[in-house]
């Protein structure tokens, strides 16, 4: 059935709250406001203020409280309004959520789900537009997923709730109004598996979250030029599904990594490294990357569009790894 990404999340939240009394939702404006992105609209009325809890603007405290509640036997879903705001809670994430199992010698579990919006494209400038999921993916002890489709928005949440460890779900802010087909079942893909969204043979375009649609748009354009790009949706950023990534690259022999994070020290760097570690002798060209320009995201549309990965840039990078003529003009 077709629904928006937003509705898919709401369906998943509704189901989770209905299915398990240990589940509760908390975060900034998730209740009366209906969620900054309206993902939780109506849930307060349905489940009451105990289970749909508006929090003060106290990210460190309510994320930390989510960790504590998970320790205490609950299954909290914490919504942080945007990844930029989550930085105020990074201490709790890195120093507590990610470490408690290990430093307690395996005694503690933090079955916590944290959802947050990420990414740019809405002209909300340099303090609301960043894609920092790659930072989270750096941290052992937590899991990081990025649903790119309404179907994944619907089914990643229940899968995350079944995990015994903290799972961070990054929802690209541009995706909420996107409509997509949502199946009845989670489907054959496990939570941490990558998905081939479009099969191809000439190049593997690796993307996640909000970049998947751009990669698919680029692939459509490239198809008119006779280039068949395979679009791989990472889905999971930690762990990375090396097997699927490498299998695709071994088939296509070229890879372009699209990452809305900044290029330096990015998730794209990690993926490119793994490709060269695992498929070096299958590579017919250097791995190319399409990342955000190394600038805080500027407000004006023309500058923001230029700063973020776009289908045209992805096409250019693909042409660059395929043909010498374009390689000369490709961005470094």
């Amino acid at each position: 059935m077709r629904m928006t990404y937003r509705e898919a999340l709401r369906t998943a939240l509704t189901e989770a709250l209905s299915a398990d009394p240990r589940v509760f939702l908390m975060g900034e404006d998730v209740g009366r406001y209906g969620g900054a992105y309206a993902a939780s609209k109506g849930l307060l009325e349905q489940f009451g203020p105990d289970r749909v809890r508006d929090t003060p603007l106290s990210e460190s405290a309510f994320v930390g409280a989510g960790i504590g509640a998970a320790l205490g036997g609950m299954r909290p879903i914490v919504e942080v309004m945007t990844v930029n705001f989550s930085l105020l809670a990074l201490d709790q994430v890195v120093n507590s959520a990610a470490t408690l199992r290990h430093m307690s010698g395996g005694q503690l579990s933090v079955p916590l789900v944290v959802r947050m919006a990420t990414g740019g494209g809405r002209q909300v400038a340099a303090q609301h537009s960043h894609s920092l999921e790659g930072w989270y993916a750096h941290v052992p002890g937590i899991r990081v997923v990025a649903p790119a489709t309404a179907h994944d928005a619907r089914w990643m949440l229940p899968a995350a709730l079944r995990e015994p460890d903290p799972v961070f779900i990054f929802e690209h802010a541009m995706l909420y109004p996107e409509e997509g087909e949502v199946g009845e079942e989670p489907g054959p893909l496990p939570l941490f598996a990558a998905a081939i969204r479009r099969p191809g043979r000439d190049v593997t375009v690796i993307a996640h979250g909000g970049s998947v649609g751009k990669a698919l748009a680029a692939a459509e354009q490239l198809a008119t030029e006779g280039i068949e790009a395979e679009v791989l949706d990472l889905r999971s950023l930690r762990p990375l599904d090396d097997a699927t990534i490498l299998e695709s690259v071994r088939r296509c022999h070229r890879a372009v990594v699209v990452d809305e994070g900044w290029r330096s020290g990015s998730l794209s760097a990690e993926i490119a490294s793994r490709i060269s570690e695992g498929a070096f002798f299958e590579l017919d060209a250097p791995v190319a990357r399409v990342c955000s320009a190394e600038v805080p995201i500027p407000y004006p549309k023309h500058l923001e569009d230029t700063a973020l990965p776009q289908p045209d840039g992805i096409c250019a990078a693909v042409r660059g790894v395929l043909q010498p003529a374009q390689a000369a003009g490709a961005k470094a």
Partner: protein, 393 residues
Amino acid sequence: MGEFRMPTLGADMVAGTLTEWYKHPGDVVNRGDIIAAVDTDKGSIDVEVFEDGVLERVVVEEGQKVPVGTLLAVIGSGAGAPAPAAAPSPPAAAAQVPPPTPPSAAAPAAPSPSAAPTAAPLPPAHGVRASPLARRLAADLRVDLTGITGSGPGGAIVKEDVEAAAARGGGDRSARMRRAIAAAMAKSNREIPHFYLATTIDLGAASAWLAQWNAAHPPAERLLPAVLLLKATALALLEFPELNARWEQESLQPAAEVHIGMVTSLRGGGLVIPAVHQVNRRTLPELMREVRELVQRARSGTLRSSDLTDGTVTVTSLGDRGADAVFGVIYPPQTALIGFGTPAERPWVVAGQVVPRQVVTASLAADHRASDGHRGGMFLATIARLLQQPEGL
């Protein structure tokens, strides 16, 4: 001190890839020793050294493609040679490989262990811009990357280029060999004013003599008709030196010896023309042994440089291909090519009677700048005459 340079292993060779050093700095070398392998458009060739001494210094590393004439190594008296047990080069030696030295370059600085790495062989085509996949594939398909033009990013050789090279001829070497032959033959046809003559030769006496010889000798010493043809040709050439010569710089340069280049087809396609040396001086059993070895070396890809460069004339024999006659293309800068068709029984008039006789059609393709039809006809007649007295060969 001697200089060991990239030899020219054929008139059409402009560069070669040093694929392997058999000798290393400090090793004693003797004239005639095979000291290196060079990959050319025509195949891998073992290159010999022409002086005695000690291999003092390697200038061109394995995997490098350099122009003909490039200094490859320095052969010294041994006085200044490093000890044979010179310390192995550090792994970083690969990065210190000197660039190809142009033929005119002065000898590099004094030898030192680090400048003469003896590291393990580098991967082939070191320095060639090729993708990792292309390199791996080239190794699998035994395709040499050095001759391939890349179509990938920045002109890099990519998978498709290697596959295309392999598809052109079951391996790039064969494709390049075919191209090299094509180039030489085209050059020949462009530049050499050929003329052609043919005569049918009675092999009755030769066949009878051969049958007698072979019946009297063990299999290892038996002869093929080809050696009789070669020897007769060589002896005839002594009388017609303009056909055993080079045409270079608008002048004829007769050769001192008769080294007959023998067109040899390879199993994988393509052909080579290794030379049988001093055919005029050899006995028939010696020639037979020489021919066997040469064919075997040609087909196993272990020809020496001199095998390919020394020919003064070419003989092509289609003895087992069923053609009656062959009118060949001269291999420049030679001036003649002698062809033999398939020996066959034909009606033959002997003393007014038609009788069956073993005959062969001998043909001559000759450079009109060096010779003419009159001389050519006499030459073929000389071969025919010599074959009537096989015991004198």
